[in-house]
């Protein structure tokens, strides 16, 4: 039988690498995301499966007490009241996990209303049954996965990436995805090859599959000859990778290679990869997928962890950078017709002062635990900086009055809007450092949305216009001895490093997995010079 080849556009490679293994199609979503939906039918089937497992267990069980408890659980699974409630919550035969949990809590509430403590205690059985049911729904398919397998699923959630890593999954293929999702960031961090926009592979479930997430290719059932070549390719790649990893230990006197992180799990990973600090700590993960903003304490603990882990190296933490396209229930967001040109970044923060103040308090408290830089996103005009700095001073005063220990910290801005490049001189007295976000800068300079395939040829982040902009910023900042970092994709592109070094860039901030590669390149270039 001839092998079948699928070509995937390189744009959809999130995390590079090769893998060769059996394809496992996961048709169901595999996590407890609360807005995720399941059909009542699926739920009923899962309940039936669980029930027969429980009945099996009852047969084997010797303790009468346990038998009764398990019997009670089977009855809960059959309970008409429960199914009524679930049907009521469902729409079009589907129910969200959140609603499933709501029904659970309603039932528990009924138990809690009873005076008799013996009855109240039984609420735990309800919790138990619901937990078991969720595992039944989502656990079933994942049991098929063995180390080296390649998984295909519609969409992936961050926790699944971690789970798949632990299961030894060779590569992840998804129908839907995005470069900026946390799942993508984690896949890069954890170094699992990952591509999205992959066509439906359902008919190849169980087939041997070769995944090339370097060039963008999937080969189903390769021939013996092909397998031989592909295996050599994988070996060569792994050898080179192991070779590159050694460079994570290198430190340069004059150049820093730092890491961009977006979730807490990445801190240790970035450290292992040899990052000379965190050049960009995106804080959005703390704010997304929740009903209320994170408390000062929760944020403080997250920032403290990052600062302590990297001390004495610097950790640059960016204030919440949310655009008008993301609706958070607790954020006061206007309906922008064009969210990328609307209320985003610092503009949004200044309209949501409570959130800004809480984040700044958490950050300034955390400053006592390390070397902190606070980064203001989407700055366009000087007033934005002056306003934020004013609030920072107020909070510092507040904290000192409260007797809270405050450390030294720097305040800098993202350079990601063209006007800032040209007006930088007037901003310089008010800032300690800048970080150039070349991804957004490219979008704004070339008027091309990075996520829109139709205009991908206009999105030119390696263009001389971008290089000139970086050079202008580097020149202006180095005149006053203030640091500049580049934290966009360009900093992690091996073929661009020479150019960036030549225009005087000293700080690169890249995805953690790319740190060794960038260090290797810098090392090689330095060797050539001497």
């Amino acid at each position: 039988m001839a092998s079948k080849i699928f070509i995937i556009h390189p744009h959809f490679i999130v995390s590079e690498g090769y893998a060769f293994g059996h394809l496992i199609i996961l048709t169901k979503k595999v996590d407890f995301q609360k807005d995720q939906k399941i059909t009542l039918e699926e739920l009923k089937k899962a309940a039936e499966r669980l029930k027969s497992k429980l009945l099996e267990a009852i047969k084997k069980e010797t303790s009468q007490e346990v038998k009764e408890i398990l019997g009670f659980h089977t009855m809960i699974l059959d309970d008409p009241f429960l199914w009524d409630r679930l049907s009521n919550k469902a729409s079009h035969g589907k129910i969200t996990i959140e609603d499933l949990n709501k029904v659970r809590d309603e039932v528990i509430e009924l138990f809690l209303n009873i005076d008799n403590p013996l009855i109240r205690e039984r609420q735990h059985d309800v919790k138990d049954v619901f937990t078991k049911l969720l595992y039944e729904i989502y656990g079933e398919e994942k049991k098929r996965i063995s180390p080296g397998d390649i998984v295909y699923l519609e969409e992936i959630f961050p926790s699944e990436v971690v789970e798949f890593k632990n299961l030894g999954v060779g590569a992840i293929l998804c129908k839907k995805g995005s470069h900026t999702s946390h799942a993508s960031i984690l896949a890069q961090s954890l170094d699992i090859p990952f591509m999205f926009n992959v066509p439906d592979l359902s008919e190849y479930d169980g087939s041997l599959v070769f995944v090339d997430a370097v060039h963008g290719k999937i080969i189903v059932e390769p021939s013996k000859e092909e397998i031989k070549i592909l295996k050599e390719l994988i070996e060569k790649y792994s050898r080179e990778k192991a070779e590159t990893e050694k460079y994570s230990l290198i430190k340069f006197d004059d150049v820093k290679v730092m890491a961009n992180i977006g979730v807490l799990q990445e801190i240790d990973f970035a450290k292992r990869k040899g990052a000379d600090g965190i050049g960009l700590f995106r804080t959005e993960f703390l704010f997304l997928n929740r009903k209320a903003p994170p408390s000062e304490e929760e944020q403080y603990l997250a920032y403290k962890k990052a600062l302590e882990s990297f001390y004495p190296d610097e950790v640059i933490i960016r204030l919440l950078d949310i655009g008008g396209d993301k609706k958070l229930p607790y954020l006061n967001v206007s309906n922008d017709e064009n969210p990328f040109l609307g209320v985003r970044g610092v503009r949004l923060l200044l309209k949501n002062r409570d959130i800004l103040r809480t984040q700044l308090r958490a950050l300034i408290r955390a400053s006592a635990h390390g070397n902190l830089g606070i980064l203001i996103p989407m700055v366009t005009i000087l007033e934005d900086i002056i306003e934020v700095r004013k609030i920072i001073r107020e909070i510092e005063g507040e904290l000192k009055e409260e007797g809270v220990k405050v450390g030294n910290f720097k305040v800098g801005i993202m350079v990601e809007v063209p006007s800032v490049v040209f007006n930088l001189d007037e901003f310089i007295p008010h800032i300690d450092f800048v970080s150039i976000g070349t991804n957004d800068l490219t979008q704004y300079m070339f008027a091309a949305d990075r996520n829109n395939q139709e205009v991908s040829k206009y999105y030119r982040d390696e263009d001389k216009a971008i290089i000139n902009a970086i050079q202008l910023v580097v020149n202006k900042m180095s005149r006053v001895g203030k640091p500049v970092a580049v934290c966009g994709e360009i900093a992690g592109k091996v073929h661009m490093i020479e150019k960036l070094l030549n225009i005087g860039l000293k700080e690169f901030s890249v995805a953690p997995a790319k740190v060794p590669r960038v260090k290797k390149r810098i090392y090689e270039l330095k060797q050539l010079k001497t």
Binding site: E68, F72, D78, F81, L82, L110, F111, D115, N116, L118
Partner: protein
Amino acid sequence: MPKIVKKMMVTNPEGLHARPASQLVKKLSKFKSSVIIKYGDKAVNAKSVLSVITLGIDLGVEIEVIVEGDDAEDVIKVVEGVVSGE
């Protein structure tokens, strides 16, 4: 369709807590009739173990049972059996 409404005194020492409620539901599952238990201001489906338990029926209280269906007479006997704890 035959309908029987009957008041009963709960003499089962465990009231209608988890164990007797489970027994009741198990036994009732074989019957077609609808069964409602009224206690205080609440009326629930007696075939739902969660509903019965969360009435919080203790020993010595009075409940009202409403059975409707062809096998109502047999059902009432079953309910009486569990409620009395025999």
